[in-house]
């Protein structure tokens, strides 16, 4: 893909009344605009095919910084506007970017910033337990919260209604029959056909953004590793990258390679788990058992080689906290060879199974246009023709020294998301081998430098679910002022509401599993 410089071109097309102050920081380009043109910018951006990637706000003294991150051809732009505390309102960008919808509602809930013309101003993250006038991410709100005796239930959320003969509602969750994360799904169905699905998330809101404030870099890295347990490497890496950018720390090459190995191992483990779970949801338990077994062996190697099954806290600011001995490299390579062999056998059995094919093909179809409109990430986007991978488009160490093969399909169904995962596993195995071959002798961790007050960083990496964006701004004395992690699930969850349409109710679980969004990463 050509990395032509579209930014100059774009700036020249902006109207004369839209003054953009471009601030080039070490990590990214910040464009600052007036708040009243916030929506106009989005309208232009959507025409220029910029992808809306993330949005968050921050309180700095008595002003709010509102940020939105856009991307085109691998180049990221951080759009910013500053509004005064006395009049916290802003025109919405969700009118043109559907992906911005929930993000703006999150900002509205957490900061009390009103988005004018927002298509849907119902509460999102802040359930009814919060008093209406409390805005948790404002600086005057205490980090320990204001606990009450009994949390009031999240009642009377105005779900979208539908009427008609034979139309009925199915409320599912947030407590499910299986041991899974909590989330509420409201279906409107006629017979078995799904007319509409509405998600209601936020049940695992942990106040990650609030408790990140005033942390040290080490402690923030640990917190980032707990944004979503299954993406501990991804989030930790993104947060560390953001902090390293802010502090101007360059990690040693050996540390970068080990980070790459950790991230690819996490990708493989999760993809194997997902592939098994997809089969299990159509009652093909055999495949699930095989994938569970393979994943378990993989995790055990994680424990022996890296000291943690899920690789938690292996990445630290400035480098990594674990080394790879000669013997471990050998072990990993041997394991990869075995996994390839076993995987080939299992995959053959699945590929030849017509009953499985009947369930997975054509079900849960996500059209290419819909995926593009939402900016769908990771395997969800790639299965619907979104050729996008941070590792290739905006390469960062260690991916700048290897070729990353991106698996793209255009079928857009469950099977497609299944096979994209498989291809990603195969590609990731190659990457691990490449990284091991290139492993250089050297330091594991660079010395940390205290960043200047107000310095910021935008860590963007490709986690196993897709692009993770982590924003960090430092306060004085090496403390964090603002941390915002954008899990790919935040972008992908809304696409589930679209891809289940025209499917039947009993096919929803497998549609959901093929997307496998993180509840924790979404609710923060």
């Amino acid at each position: 893909m050509s990395h032509s410089n579209w930014t100059a071109d774009f700036l020249s097309r902006l109207g004369t009344d839209m003054t953009v102050t471009a601030i080039d920081t070490a990590s990214t380009t910040v464009w600052q605009i007036e708040s009243h043109v916030w929506q106009r910018f989005a309208e232009l951006a959507v025409r220029e095919k910029l992808r809306w990637a993330a949005g968050w706000a921050e309180q700095v003294q008595n002003r709010f910084f509102i940020n939105a991150c856009f991307e085109k051809q691998g180049q990221y732009i951080l759009l910013r506007t500053i509004i005064d505390e006395s009049k916290p309102e802003l025109p919405s960008q969700a009118t043109v970017y559907p992906a911005a919808n929930r993000s703006e509602r999150h900002t509205q809930d957490m900061f009390g910033i009103k988005f004018i013309d927002h298509p849907d101003n119902r509460r999102w993250t802040r359930h009814q337990a919060w008093i209406d006038s409390q805005y948790p991410l404002r600086k005057d709100f205490p980090a320990e919260g204001t606990p009450v005796g009994i949390t009031p239930p999240d009642m009377h959320y105005p779900f979208i209604q539908s009427h008609g003969a034979g139309v009925y509602e199915i409320p599912v969750g947030p407590v499910h029959a299986g041991i899974i994360e909590p989330g509420h799904f409201r279906f409107q169905a006629v017979g078995e056909l799904i007319l509409n699905l509405e998600e209601r998330l936020g049940y695992v809101h942990k106040g990650i953004e609030k408790i990140a404030e005033r942390r040290t870099p080490e402690s923030l890295a640990k917190l980032a590793g707990r944004v979503s347990g299954d993406t501990t490497v991804g989030h930790c890496w993104a947060a560390c990258r953001a902090m390293e950018q802010a502090a101007g720390v360059v990690i040693p090459p050996r540390a970068a390679l080990i980070r790459g190995i950790l991230a690819e191992r996490e990708r493989i483990a999760n993809h194997m788990g997902d592939m098994g779970a997809i089969c299990n949801d159509v009652a093909f338990v055999f495949a699930q058992m095989q994938f569970t077994r393979l994943r378990e062996l993989w995790l055990r190697t994680n424990a022996t080689v890296f000291g943690h099954r899920l690789l938690m806290d292996r990445i630290v600011p400035g480098g990594v906290a674990c080394d790879l001995s000669e013997a471990s490299c050998h072990l990993i390579k041997k394991e990869i060879a075995e996994l390839r062999k076993e995987m080939a056998e299992v995959i053959l059995a699945l590929d030849l199974n017509t009953s499985l094919e009947d369930r997975l093909y054509t079900a849960g179809f996500l059209a290419e246009q819909t995926a593009a409109a939402f900016g769908a990430l990771g395997y969800v986007g790639r299965a619907s023709g979104q050729d996008r991978d941070v590792r290739r488009d905006t390469p960062y160490a260690p991916y700048d020294r290897v070729t990353v093969k991106v698996a793209v399909e255009t079928q857009g169904d469950i099977a497609s998301r299944f096979w994209v995962r498989y291809k990603e596993i195969i590609a990731a195995l190659h990457l691990i081998e490449d990284f091991i071959d290139q492993l250089v002798v050297g330091e594991l961790c660079a010395e940390w430098q205290t960043p200047a007050m107000g310095s910021e960083g935008l860590g963007i990496i490709e986690g196993w679910r897709g692009e993770i964006i982590s924003y960090i701004r430092f306060d004085a004395d090496n403390k964090i002022a603002r941390f915002y992690p954008r899990d790919p699930s935040q972008i992908n969850w809304p696409t589930l509401e679209k891809l289940v349409l025209d499917n039947i109710v009993p096919d929803f679980p497998v549609c959901n599993k093929s997307l496998n969004g993180s509840y924790s990463g979404n609710d923060l």
Binding site: V172, A283, F284
Partner: protein, 314 residues
């Protein structure tokens, strides 16, 4: 004496049903490269459930409370109709196969009502799906059974089995069709893969499990036991009608013991086949079930036609 044996046989039937479920689970685990729970695990589960206090929703009416007892009793009564280890017993003489299907329908009627009774979306959904499936399964089942009864000129299972025994080993095309039809129906009616998945936790995909989601404690134990009985009942039906050899024709201790061993062996083999089938296929899309059951009906019909064309003249 005959009545005593009939009662004993029915009791044995009820007692052995969880064992079959346990054995089936073992086979499936083995085929999935897993360590299996003990064969007697279903007994432990039933015992555990029976000790637990049932939790009943505030909205539950008397239908919800009595349904487990009705379902269990109706299934036990259906089991008395089917010759298990011996033929010519008074219980099977007093009722025929249509009565057995009636008992099933009766139990299902109450199960569906109980699913609707609480008023949760899942219960209603399960009941609706169950009724859809059974409305298609029952004709297919009757068609298969009629093929058999036409051969034996009786709807009484005991007499039909005795007839097959007397005829000796004859390959009847009609029986092959009827066996296939009955097997398909049995899989649908007992909620096995590919029609339903008894082991799922996904509420939205459930059929049988969705109706009983609100049940707990001894109520759940009775319903679970009833579904184990139903599974065994279909197994016995298939085993004893199509391969009746070994069943006791006299009531001597030796014949009865031999009969028990024979049926247990046959059921064990059938369970292995079922486990293999369940491991090989995924659950089908819900709207494929009608095609599946129509196919079962077609097989039943073909069985009857081949009986009329090929066998009846002789």
């Amino acid at each position: 004496m005959n009545w005593l044996i009939a009662v004993l046989q029915s009791m044995l039937f009820v007692v052995l049903a969880p064992l079959l479920a346990g054995w089936l689970k073992c086979c499936k685990c083995y085929l999935q490269n897993r360590k299996a729970p003990s064969v007697i695990q279903p007994y432990r589960d039933l015992l555990k459930l029976s000790h637990k206090q049932p939790v009943v929703a505030e909205q539950a009416s008397w239908i919800f409370l009595i349904s487990p007892y009705i379902i269990f009793s109706a299934t036990v009564l259906a089991a008395t109709v089917v010759p298990f280890i011996a033929v010519n017993l008074p219980t099977s003489a007093s009722a025929d196969v249509i009565v057995m299907v009636g008992f099933f329908a009766f139990a299902r009627f109450f199960l569906a009502l109980a699913g609707l009774d609480i008023g949760t979306a899942f219960g209603g959904m399960g009941s609706s799906r169950e009724m859809t499936i059974s409305s298609l399964a029952e004709p297919a089942m009757l068609m298969a059974v009629f093929t058999l009864t036409m051969t034996a000129s009786t709807t009484n299972l005991s007499l039909a089995i005795a007839h097959v025994l007397n005829e000796g080993l004859v390959l009847r095309p009609s029986f092959v069709f009827a066996l296939a039809a009955l097997t398909l129906v049995a899989i649908a009616e007992t909620g096995r893969i590919p029609v339903d998945n008894p082991a799922t936790h996904l509420e939205l995909t459930m059929i049988h499990e969705a109706m009983i989601l609100e049940y707990s404690g001894r109520h759940l134990a009775l319903i679970e036991w009833a579904s184990q009985l139903k599974l065994m009942l279909y197994g016995v039906l298939i085993a004893n009608i199509f391969l009746p050899w070994g069943i006791a024709e006299t009531f001597s201790g030796q014949a009865l013991g031999y009969g028990l061993l024979a049926i247990m062996g046959k059921l064990a083999v059938l369970a292995i086949f079922l486990a293999i089938a369940e491991t090989l296929v995924a659950k089908m899309r819900l709207f494929r079930v009608q095609e599946y059951l129509s196919f079962a009906y077609l097989l039943g019909l073909l069985g009857m036609l081949s009986h009329i064309i090929l066998e009846a003249a002789r």
